[in-house]
């Protein structure tokens, strides 16, 4: 599966990146393709482009706050989970993407 994801936690220092790390690790282990955009204290990193989004099979938001530039994902089916869940149970979260 080709996955794009966004992580964003309240302070933007730690959990944003911890979740990104978990999702990347787990997705690769399960044989998926994944690109994770982080929205944190440094702003948006690893930004998802319009073509990457439209080409994706699934969109995952592991977020506790509003996603910036959410318009980019219009028209796509988004699965949204709290950041903690992506950290604690990345396999389960990816399973939700069907």
């Amino acid at each position: 599966m080709n996955i794009v994801a966004v992580t964003a936690c309240p302070t933007g220092i730690a959990h944003t990146y911890m979740a990104a790390e978990q999702l990347e690790k787990t997705a690769k282990a399960l044989g998926h393709q994944i690109k994770v955009e982080t929205q944190g204290a440094m702003g948006i990193e690893n930004e998802l482009t319009a073509s990457e989004i439209s080409a994706a099979d699934a969109v995952l938001f592991a977020v506790d706050i509003e996603v910036e530039q959410r318009e980019r994902f219009e028209g796509k089916k988004i699965v949204e989970v709290p950041v903690q869940m992506a950290i604690k149970d990345p396999t389960g979260v990816l399973a939700k993407l069907g």
Partner: protein
């Protein structure tokens, strides 16, 4: 509701109508009325069951009747019918008008901020006060003053009871007369009400009964009986529910003090206090002499009643770094002698009951303070200069010989101000030349060749001295004080000058003259010095030719436009910023309404400073500062940049200021000063200073000092507190309580324990000097910390990430995001678990982050 009691006598039931309960004032009105009747009149508080004698103010007040309480008045005696009618009429009529709304409560100290860890430690009862000298003291309460007798009188054996009683009667009569005179003379309604209430207590039948009992049955002296009776009734009131009643404790104390004075004369003898264990001294006020007689190795803290920030006892306390709190009001009366308490003069609270885990919290605070002091003192012995080699002397303000050694231990390079007022105060006659010469010589010798600046006496006005007979003034700050009185008291001043010249034979002494406003005054003092030299010559003293430099305080604004003239007459200057700011801004710092105007960073004041410094340097004179502004670390770069040659301050501040000077670069400070002087408002000045502080060289993000292994913490609160403390020790923050709160704000959102025995608390905070990573590791075999983690397991390793609000460099933020990713990897976590020294861990993290 009236009824006739079956056993005879009449009753009247009612609900207490007055808004503030039955306190001393309405009680005295009721008592006055009840006294007219022969019958016994009793007021029963049906809520508590307490039955009070309506003819005794103290008894009535002791009934603790609150507004709305159901009460019953019982009248029993030959005129019970009449008494019943008149009293009930009164209770439904005039009585309702005899009380008024309480005067607005006094300015309370600013609200106290209790950090989470202390709240969680169960801090319930605490008293708030105004911190006058920071620090934490833990010890046993020793009370000075208040209702006490000097030891000799305390143990005195009583004479004939009849004699003691007669003595007491006389005192009661005398005090009563004095009160009546005051009431007659008073034009203030509130004041005369209070005085009447005091009179009521004095003539109170219960009070009287108690005193007689103590003299006749317990065979006490008049003085001992007064104290015992006072304590008895104070204890009664102290348990009252309403704070207003508790405040009446002070009324009783007042009356008893007056009685004691009347019995023994104005000075019943100074009390000698010997501290035998770590102690906290609680007093309404302390004379400098009393303070200095306290064994400082045992004195842990001071709690003072009404001391202002500039009272002499407080100046001394700060000089020795004794934590001091003031303004506790009535709460101070509740601190019992012998009780173990903690004074936290950092947060402005007193903890009257010490229990775990509060005691652990404060043990850690004390240990932290000790480590910070150690770190500071290692830098103390060096001469002070900026990083780019600009010399700036850091000196000490003192007022007694005892302070000299501690001053040099803190790293002072000289005595920048030896205040001599205390030598002249609290005594009946001026100190002799001999006495003064001994003191000044002792200070000079203890300074072992380093410069000592002795300021001639600055008395008058608010620092009165009885034997000079100076009349009280309406406006002492603009009055007859300092150099202004030297003409009239020439002989007094010349005595001091001769003593100073004698001391100058033993070392490097400089003279400093206060409150100078004109060249004439300077010339006059120099003439006095010449005369003093002649007087010494006449007795064959070699001190006649002792070398001393001559300087003046810059505190009267008029000096600003006389500098070239003054430079012709003097060798150096010292700016007294406390008074200069008051005069320049025309605002009394002790007047709450205008205190905010007293602002030493007002752009106009800063330009004044620059004018003074430039003018002095233009004529090759050195210029220093001895006011409180000198000890302010935030303003230090500015003072360096303005070009001061010397800063003199209370010794406890010296290590921090010396460290600050060494870190600074003169060139940058000079640029800062230029910028600051263009500000239009004080807020702009602060912005410049804040920005300057933040732009400082950044500290490394992690260091061995930030790694805590073998932590004993068992709760989240303890762990976070330990981490915040180590940040303070490592100079990453000066606001640990605020930082703690910010970490908790994030932690409260959801737990940062993400499993595997790790937690990663973090925050963004303006109260950090640099981005910081700190690590806390519990003992492996230990239980770990309940963190509410995702996997429910306890945490053994806590990684604190703290970043500054200001956009202070993407590199550091990158480090934190890298660290956050790495901490999800098993190998990384295993390494953190197994590395066994702080150096290894700090190195490991640093290496990993920059990979």
């Amino acid at each position: 509701m009236s009824s006739t009691d079956s056993s005879g006598g009449q009753e009247y039931r009612f609900h207490f109508p007055l808004p503030n309960g039955l306190h001393a004032r309405p009680a005295s009105h009721l008592q006055e009325l009840a006294d007219h009747f022969q019958s016994a009149i009793t007021l029963v508080n049906e809520r508590t069951g307490y039955a009070a004698n309506a003819k005794s103010v103290l008894s009535l007040v002791g009934a603790d009747v609150k507004t709305g309480d159901p009460c019953k008045m019982i009248f029993s005696g030959s005129d019970e019918g009449l008494a019943h009618n008149e009293v009930t009429t009164y209770l439904c009529g005039d009585f309702l008008r005899c009380d008024e709304a309480l005067p607005p409560t006094q300015e309370l100290p600013g609200s106290v901020f209790i950090p989470r860890s202390l709240r969680k430690a169960g801090l319930e009862a605490h008293h708030a006060g105004i911190p006058l000298c920071r620090g934490i003291g833990w010890g046993t309460v020793v009370r000075i003053g208040g209702l006490t007798l000097p030891t000799s009188l305390k143990n005195e054996k009583a004479g004939e009871p009849a004699k003691e009683e007669a003595s007491l009667r006389q005192s009661i009569q005398d005090v009563g007369c004095a009160l009546e005179k005051k009431i007659a003379a008073s034009s203030n309604q509130q004041e005369s009400e209070v005085l009447k209430a005091h009179l009521g207590i004095l003539h109170d039948s219960e009070f009287d009964t108690k005193l007689r009992e103590l003299i006749l049955e317990e065979k006490l002296t008049a003085g001992q009986a007064i104290i015992a009776a006072g304590e008895h009734f104070m204890a009664l009131l102290q348990n009252a529910q309403s704070s207003y009643l508790r405040e009446r404790v002070l009324d009783i104390q007042d009356i008893c003090s007056q009685l004691l004075k009347s019995t023994y004369g104005a000075h019943p003898g100074t009390e000698e206090v010997t501290l035998t264990q770590p102690s906290i001294v609680v007093a309404e006020s302390l004379t400098p002499g009393q303070f200095l007689s306290l064994d400082r190795s045992q004195l842990q803290a001071l709690v003072l009643g009404h001391a202002g920030a500039t009272s002499h006892a407080v100046i001394l306390a700060r000089s020795f770094g004794i934590p001091t709190l003031a303004g506790l009001g009535t709460a101070a009366a509740l601190l019992q002698a012998g009780k173990e308490i903690i004074v936290d003069a950092n947060r402005g609270i007193v903890i009257p009951e010490i229990k775990e885990p509060i005691s652990s919290f404060y043990r850690r605070e004390l240990s932290k303070a000790g480590r910070i002091r150690e770190a500071m003192s290692s830098l103390s012995s060096l001469e002070t200069a900026t990083a780019d080699g600009n010399r700036l002397e850091i000196a000490a303000n003192i007022a007694s010989v005892a302070e000299v050694a501690p001053a040099f231990e803190s790293g002072a390079e000289g005595i920048g101000l030896f205040r001599t007022e205390m030598i002249f105060m609290d005594r009946d006659a001026a100190p002799t030349e001999e006495e003064q010469a001994n003191i000044y010589t002792a200070v000079v010798q203890a300074s072992a060749g380093r410069s000592v600046i002795i300021r001639t006496v600055d008395i008058g006005g608010d620092k009165p001295v009885s034997y000079l007979g100076l009349p009280p003034e309406v406006n002492p700050f603009l009055g007859y004080r300092g150099v202004r009185i030297y003409k009239e008291f020439a002989s007094l001043i010349k005595t001091q000058l001769r003593a100073i010249l004698r001391a100058a034979e033993h070392g490097a002494v400089r003279l400093l003259v206060p409150m100078v406003s004109s060249v004439e005054e300077v010339r006059h003092v120099k003439a006095l010095i010449t005369e003093s030299r002649e007087e010494l010559r006449a007795v064959g003293s070699s001190a006649a030719d002792a070398c001393i430099e001559f300087g003046i305080m810059l505190e009267v604004p008029a000096v600003a436009f006389q500098m070239p003239n003054l430079c012709e007459e003097v060798d150096f200057f010292s700016i007294g910023t406390n008074d200069l700011t008051q005069y320049w801004m025309a605002a009394d710092r002790d007047n709450a309404k205008v205190a905010p105007l007293y602002n030493s960073i007002h752009p106009s004041f800063l330009r004044l400073l620059k004018t003074l410094v430039d003018a002095a340097h233009a004529k090759g004179k050195w210029i220093g500062m001895c006011g409180e502004m000198a000890e302010n670390a935030t303003l230090l770069p500015l003072l360096i940049g303005l070009g001061f040659d010397e800063l003199s301050m209370a010794p406890p501040r010296i290590p921090a200021i010396k460290a600050g000077v060494r870190k600074a670069k003169f060139r940058e400070c000079a640029e800062l000063a230029e910028q600051v002087l263009t500000s239009s408002v004080a807020a702009e000045v602060m912005e410049h200073l804040d920005r300057f502080e933040k732009s400082g060289e950044s500290l490394p993000i992690v260091s061995p000092g930030l790694v805590l292994l073998h932590s004993e913490a068992v709760t989240k609160e303890e762990a976070i507190r330990e981490l915040v403390n180590v940040l303070e020790i490592e100079n990453r923050t000066t606001a640990p309580d605020t930082l703690e709160e910010e970490i908790w704000n994030r932690e409260d959102t959801y737990s940062t324990g993400f499993g595997g025995g790790f937690a990663i608390p973090h925050c963004k905070s303006a109260h950090l000097s640099a981005n910081t990573i700190a690590i806390l590791r519990c003992r492996k075999e230990g239980p770990g910390i309940e963190w509410g983690s995702l996997d429910g397991a306890p945490v053994h390793i806590v990684i604190l990430l703290a970043i500054r609000e200001a956009n202070s460099g993407k590199e550091h933020l990158k480090i934190l995001s890298t660290l956050s990713r790495q901490v999800m990897r098993d190998e990384f976590r295993d390494q953190l678990r197994s590395q066994d020294t702080p150096e290894a861990i700090a190195q490991f993290i640093t290496a990993g982050l920059f990979a």
